[in-house]
Amino acid sequence: MIRRLFVTLLLLGLAGVFAGLVVSYSPDETLNLSARYYAEHTAQDIGAANIVTAIIVTFRGLDTLGEVTVLFLTAAIVGLVLSHGRREGGGSGRELPPAGELLGTGTRLLVPLILLLGAHVFVNGHLTPGGGFQGGAILASAILLLLLTDPLRRISHRLITAIESTAGLVFVGIGVLGIVLAGGFLDNRILPIGNLGELFSAGAIPIIYSFIGLKVGAEFSSMLAHLSETEDL
């Protein structure tokens, strides 16, 4: 009871603070300095139509590298934490209700389409909304659909690890190439900038983002695969 009261008081205080923030918030009329810089210089310097992508991959590319590393660490820790309760082989004793013919056929029809959409999203990351993170999540959704149809299906960990580490190495390698050939780490001007709005433009951004997409997709897939191999408690 005391606890409830305490929580309510705390939340009321926070609500007061938030209400003050909302009331006193006055939206800007124009862009602030850094945003104005990005808006004016992205098209010439980077060549990407999607400014958010330009920020993520080049202006703040180092942050993205850190983020992909964090994601890799979470995937690895999930695998480590769950490594005990692993089911041996495919032969679990549980009786699962079969997925039914329609879901099986539908999965076989839809998984290639979902994979294609994921690839489209990260290849076009510099032109349309989307990019490596979204595309990776969509790729992992295809793996998720496979697991839903057949929960006992085993996704090859070796393949996932291979894709993941190759993509990570290529990502860092392109970054180092940027130091050698252009202005600095993860500089995208190692390839010609090209014309705004074409598929092969924006220097190395499509390549970097494709590999980020593969890496993120592999990391999510490895999380899903590790979870699906746990035992019932």
Binding site: G100, E101, L102, T105, G106, R108, L109, V111, P112, L113, L115, L116, L117, A119, H120, V123, N124, E198, L199, F200
Partner: protein, 172 residues
């Protein structure tokens, strides 16, 4: 000989898959240019090879002129049924007494190919008023908002026959 034809169908499936994916790729890109073609070929080939058990519309398609004609007429029938049954359902929903007579009936299908059966079940499910609940072998269990006839033959004639006539020509 059997193994040879096995690899032949496998190759055929992969080629059909690749072509379908490339078609979808160009629809997604919205333009047919050289750069889109290069990336599209790479991506489609990778997916088709990585996922050889995938199906597409055209995997079991019989490439005969009759099949094309049947395909066009099938879609015509499908959209006609879709609008008609939606109007019927809207009338049911809007009438104050809610005149429904629901039930799950059993119908029979002659289709054998996977895509044909999927398309049949999807067509039944998409037209409101009927909904495929379960599919076992040649039997389909269909939930029906206003049951017309409860025996297998009558229900088959009312629900399945129209779609099946064309799908049989298309997919077999």
């Amino acid at each position: 000989m059997a193994a040879n034809s096995e690899t032949l169908t496998r190759t055929r499936r992969i080629v059909v898959m690749f072509a379908t994916l490339l078609l979808f790729w160009f629809m997604l890109m919205g333009r047919v240019t050289a750069d889109a073609l290069i990336v599209g070929v790479i991506v489609s080939l990778a997916i088709a090879l990585l996922f050889p058990s995938g199906l597409s519309f055209f995997t079991e398609f019989r490439a005969t002129p009759a099949a094309f004609v049947a395909g066009v007429r099938y879609y015509g029938l499908f959209f006609k049924e879709l609008v008609k049954s939606n109007l019927r359902l809207a009338a049911i929903v809007l009438s104050p007494s809610l005149p429904i007579k629901p039930g799950i009936v059993k119908v029979r299908t002659r289709l054998k190919s996977r895509m044909g059966r999927l398309m049949l079940a999807n067509s039944i499910s998409l037209t409101p008023g009927t909904l495929t609940v379960e599919m076992e072998g040649e039997w389909l269990y269909v939930h029906w908002v206003s049951v017309g006839s409860t025996d297998v033959e009558g229900a088959t004639a009312e629900i399945v026959a129209g779609f099946e006539r064309y799908l049989e020509v298309i997919y077999g």
